[in-house]
Structures are given as structure tokens and as C-alpha cells.
């Protein structure tokens, strides 16, 4: 599954349209709205996670751009909340690149951010949600959104 996170800026005219509905219906992509601030008759912004096959995600983005929505890929970073992680190791069977791995013989579960590709599989795979997606750029440049304005 292909997962990417995008920062969308809607022009006034589209903010009333059921854009997301069309996205799911026509392009067979799953979505997750991470943040949204869309008010009628005003510019809107949304942080949207799209999941689906690569081709569908590409076409869905084309559709958005056709509506005048500005779409930007967000660099995401995965971090581990050390206080939540209880070192079970479940994620080591999920992580495709070995960024989450076990040190033997201690059986300590280590996270190597350098190896992480940001695929996000561990986020829902971790039973205590210790793996979090953080969106760096956004926190710096759009403080209003980051605070859920």
C-alpha cells in the first residue's frame, strides 16, 4: 500500500464542494484527514493522508490540482514516544526496512530514524501507538493549523 501525506490549500470556490467524497468514489483511495480548516466561502487548508495504489493516488492528486487545489507533499517523520513504547517487539515484524529491530541477546527494541522511510506501517501496527507521524515543516510554518485552528 502506498501512503503519502499532502498539504492542500483550497481556493474559496472549491471549499464548498464535496471534494473528498469524489476522491474516494472515483479514485478508490483511502484517506485520513489529519488536520482541516475549511470554512464556507474562505480559503481552506487540509492535511490529508492518501492510501491506495500508486497510480490511483497520482490520479487523485491530478483531480485535486484540476480543481485549483494547491497540493504539496509533506515531508513526514516518524518518531517513537519512548514513554509509551513498552518494548514488545511487534513492530519489528512489520517494519519493512529494519528501522525497528531487536538487539540481542537483551531483546531490546531499537528504532533507527536514519533507516526509516516513513512508510507509516508501524503507526497502526504498534498496539500502544508509540510510533507517531510528525510533520516538521507544518509545525514551523503553519502554527495556526498545528494548533488545530
Amino acid at each position: 500500500m502506498y501512503t503519502r501525506i499532502y498539504f492542500l490549500r483550497y481556493p474559496k470556490e472549491t471549499s464548498d464542494d464535496p471534494v473528498i467524497y469524489h476522491l474516494v468514489k472515483q479514485y478508490d483511495v483511502e484517506f485520513n484527514i489529519l488536520k482541516a480548516d475549511i470554512r464556507p466561502q474562505r480559503d481552506g487548508i487540509m492535511i490529508l493522508e492518501l492510501k491506495g495504489n500508486r497510480e490511483n493516488v497520482r490520479e487523485a492528486l491530478g483531480y485535486l490540482k484540476g480543481l485549483g487545489v494547491k497540493v504539496e507533499r509533506l515531508a513526514t517523520r516518524i518518531r517513537r514516544d519512548e514513554s509509551r513504547c513498552f518494548q514488545c517487539g511487534a513492530c519489528t515484524g512489520i517494519c519493512p526496512v529494519g528501522a525497528l529491530h531487536i538487539r540481542r541477546p537483551e531483546m531490546e527494541v531499537l528504532f533507527d530514524p536514519e533507516k526509516c522511510t516513513g512508510c507509516g506501517l508501524c503507526v497502526t501496527g504498534c498496539p500502544v501507538r508509540a510510533m507517531e507521524v510528525s510533520i516538521d515543516r507544518l509545525l514551523k510554518e503553519e502554527p495556526a493549523v498545528a494548533q488545530g485552528a
Binding site: E30, F86, Q87, C88, G89, A90, C91, T92, G93, I94, I102, R104, P105, E106, M107, E108, V109, T124, G125, P127, V128, R129
Partner: protein, 397 residues
């Protein structure tokens, strides 16, 4: 059964704990001690072996008495943070199960479901000191006139809160693979098609019941570490099944014994009780559990000296067999092999991942050791034993 060369009583061990003379080691350390000194030497030297395990344990939950309202209420249906609790007990007594999802949870409608919040999470939130929202509905009676109530409350506001887990601490568990051609999301985690990964869930040589395989010392009344506080074993757990194939060391090679445990929730900690969300399966509770095992004789030394290389489990297919109730396995593997990160199933190398935390299991065994050494935590002799099977090392040899 033969006479033992070393014979200690619970009273003698407790007296040594009181006097600050007891020798207490963890189950991991005991492996080397028994190897070095033999069972008799180890039994002479060591008084208590501490064990631990920390992982998701379904069949957990808590009883609450949430306090009366004015006018009084006999709650018939109760929700805490939208998670239904069972109210058919008495006026304001309820039981909240760890795997109960929030009523508006989409479950597996968007597959695999996330199961973000359920009974286990409420238990964690409560011990973390957070406020929860309780809603109750009732029919009116002459003695209980109220028909509904809504209130915010914390654990401290509850007159009574008891963690009560009907089945915890499974003695051994299956190693799960998936031989079907699609990914499956199970309580044993995500399993890739075509047997491309294997998950297992036991602390192995640190696990309580694997160190007392015939339940000689763990029984009704055993005082334990539970959720960061003190708890008790109160019965054998549901599905307790001693009659499975065992090794020469008495250790079961299949899921076997279980414990029912309980303790005052108010003295427990969110570090050792964690709400969990298992993708595609549901919510539950991760429970920290530790049991002290008295070394009454050389037989107990031998039991507690068991190492990962001497504990075996079966490989089970969760892609087809498990769901269809087919009793079949794809060979046996030891915990030493499982912990190495790679096992062999039908001639094919398969990477493994644990679901049970060895790091935290070790930490619990350490904490329990310190409770005994520094706080005078006393051992209890069971008032009744679990159902078991006949076993003696002499016969096996």
C-alpha cells in the same frame, strides 16, 4: 515422589526475608546458578526466584463501584467514555471488560480496523489519574428512583475498584504463522501470506508458569506483582489445561495453565497496565505480572533453572487452521530459536517477532526482587492448588 535433599518451608523462607538474609534471584539468573551448582546446590543457596511477564492479556477487566447518586439509582446500562460496561450485578457495581470497544467504534468496517479506544484504555486512563465520563440508565423502583445519571469521575472518586482478570499469564503460547495467500490481522499480530513471518508471545524463561510448570507453588492465594501493585492469584484461569504434552522437564509444549488474578486497582500504575489496540482484531489490556517462586527443594530449583533452549512451543497456522478449529501444527521450536530472530518452518527460514516484552518482564522480576529484599514482601503458601498432572523427574529420567 522421592525424598528431597533440601527441604525449606514457606515460614523459613519468610523468616529469612524478614531477617534480611534471603537470597533472591531472577529466573534468568537462576538458569546459570543451576547450571553451575546443580539443583541441590542451587536450592541450598537460593530462597526465591522472581519471574515476570508483560504483554497483552485478554480476559482482563475491572469491577467498579461508582458511588451512589441522589436520588439513588439501580444502573441497568452503563457506559464509561462510551464503552459499555456490564451492569447486571447490583445497583452501582459494574464490570468493565478490557476487549470491549467504544460503542461507536467502526470495528472492522474499514478493514483492518484500528480499535483506538476500549475497556483496556479506560483502565489505563483511570490508573493514570485521568477523568472519565460515566453515563448510566435505569428503571425506577421505590428504593432506587433515579432513571439516569451522568458524571465525570476519577479513580479516586470511586468507592471501590478491583482489577479482576479471569485469565492471565498463559503458560506457553503458540507461535503463529500464516500459510494462506492473504495477509491476516489476528490477536497474534499481522501475519504475511505464504509464511513470511512468525509471531510468538511469551517471556520464555522469565515467564511465571514456565518456572513452576506443575503449579507446585503457584495456587489460590499466591501474592504477586500485578499492574505495578500487589495482587493475588485467586483461582486457576479460564481455559487452564494441565493435560497437554510436556517435555522431560515437565514444561508444557502447548498453551497449558493460566491464572486468575486480582488486586486493588487504586495502587496500580499506568506503567504496568496499558490499553492496547490490535489492528484488525480489537482492544485489550497489556498487563504486567510477576510471581515469586519459593525454592522449597531441589525440584523447584530445577524447574526455575529452565532456559529458553529447553522450552518448546508449536507452530500454528492462523491463516486457515486456527479459525477453522483444526488441531494441527507445523513442528516445534524452542524459545531460544524464536528469540534468535529466525526459525525454520517446513524447511523454510522464517523471521520471528515477539509480542511479549522481555525487557519489561526482566524489569518486573527485578522490581519483585527489590520488593522482597527492601520491603519485606512475604511469600504466601497456596490455600488450594491448581488442577495439575502427575510428574516427577525420577520417572522422566
Amino acid at each position: 515422589m522421592s525424598e528431597h535433599q533440601v527441604n525449606k518451608t514457606y515460614a523459613e523462607i519468610n523468616a529469612r526475608i524478614k531477617a534480611g538474609e534471603a537470597v533472591v534471584v531472577t529466573a534468568e539468573e537462576m538458569v546459570d546458578i543451576v547450571r553451575r551448582e546443580g539443583p541441590v546446590g542451587a536450592a541450598k543457596k537460593v530462597d526465591v526466584v522472581t519471574t515476570g511477564t508483560f504483554s497483552t492479556m485478554c480476559s482482563s477487566g475491572a469491577f467498579f463501584n461508582f458511588g451512589q447518586t441522589t436520588p439513588t439509582i439501580k444502573a441497568a446500562r452503563v457506559w464509561i467514555n462510551k464503552v459499555p460496561a456490564y451492569a447486571g450485578l447490583a445497583a452501582i457495581d459494574i464490570y468493565l471488560g478490557a476487549t470491549e470497544p467504544a460503542e461507536d467504534d467502526p470495528l472492522n468496517k474499514v478493514y483492518p480496523g484500528e480499535f483506538r479506544y476500549g475497556g483496556g484504555h479506560i483502565i489505563e486512563d483511570l490508573v493514570a489519574g485521568k477523568k472519565v465520563f460515566l453515563e448510566a440508565k435505569a428503571y425506577a423502583t421505590d428504593c432506587y428512583a433515579n432513571t439516569k445519571c451522568k458524571k465525570e469521575l476519577t479513580l479516586a472518586d470511586m468507592p471501590h475498584a478491583l482489577l479482576c482478570n479471569p485469565r492471565n499469564g498463559y503458560q506457553n503460547y503458540n507461535c503463529a504463522v500464516n500459510l494462506s495467500d492473504r495477509t491476516v490481522y489476528t490477536y497474534m499480530g499481522m501475519l504475511k501470506p505464504g509464511c513470511r513471518n512468525a509471531n510468538y508471545c511469551s517471556a520464555g524463561e522469565l515467564s511465571p508458569l514456565l518456572n513452576d510448570p506443575l503449579y507446585r507453588t503457584i495456587g489460590v492465594g499466591t501474592r504477586i506483582f500485578l499492574g505495578g501493585g500487589v495482587g493475588y492469584v485467586t483461582w486457576h484461569g479460564t481455559q487452564h489445561n494441565p493435560g497437554v504434552p510436556r517435555g522431560d522437564n515437565g514444561v508444557p509444549r502447548r498453551p497449558a495453565g493460566t491464572m486468575m488474578v486480582q488486586g486493588d486497582l487504586k495502587q496500580m500504575s499506568a506503567d504496568w497496565l496499558r490499553g492496547v489496540s490490535i489492528q484488525g482484531y480489537g482492544c485489550s489490556l497489556a498487563v504486567g505480572l510477576g510471581v515469586p517462586i519459593p525454592i522449597l527443594n531441589e525440584e523447584m530449583a530445577r524447574f526455575t533453572g529452565v532456559s529458553d533452549a529447553e522450552i518448546f512451543t508449536q507452530v500454528v497456522d492462523y491463516g486457515h487452521d486456527y479459525t477453522n478449529g483444526i488441531q494441527r501444527n507445523y513442528g516445534e521450536v524452542s524459545y531460544a530459536q524464536l528469540k534468535s530472530g529466525m526459525i525454520e518452518v517446513a524447511g523454510k527460514k522464517v523471521p520471528t517477532a515477539p509480542l511479549s516484552s522481555v525487557v519489561k518482564a526482566r524489569e518486573i522480576a527485578e522490581i519483585l526482587r527489590h520488593w522482597i529484599l527492601d520491603r519485606g514482601f512475604q511469600l504466601t503458601e497456596p490455600v488450594a492448588n491448581f488442577p495439575t498432572v502427575d510428574f516427577s523427574f525420577d520417572v522422566a529420567e
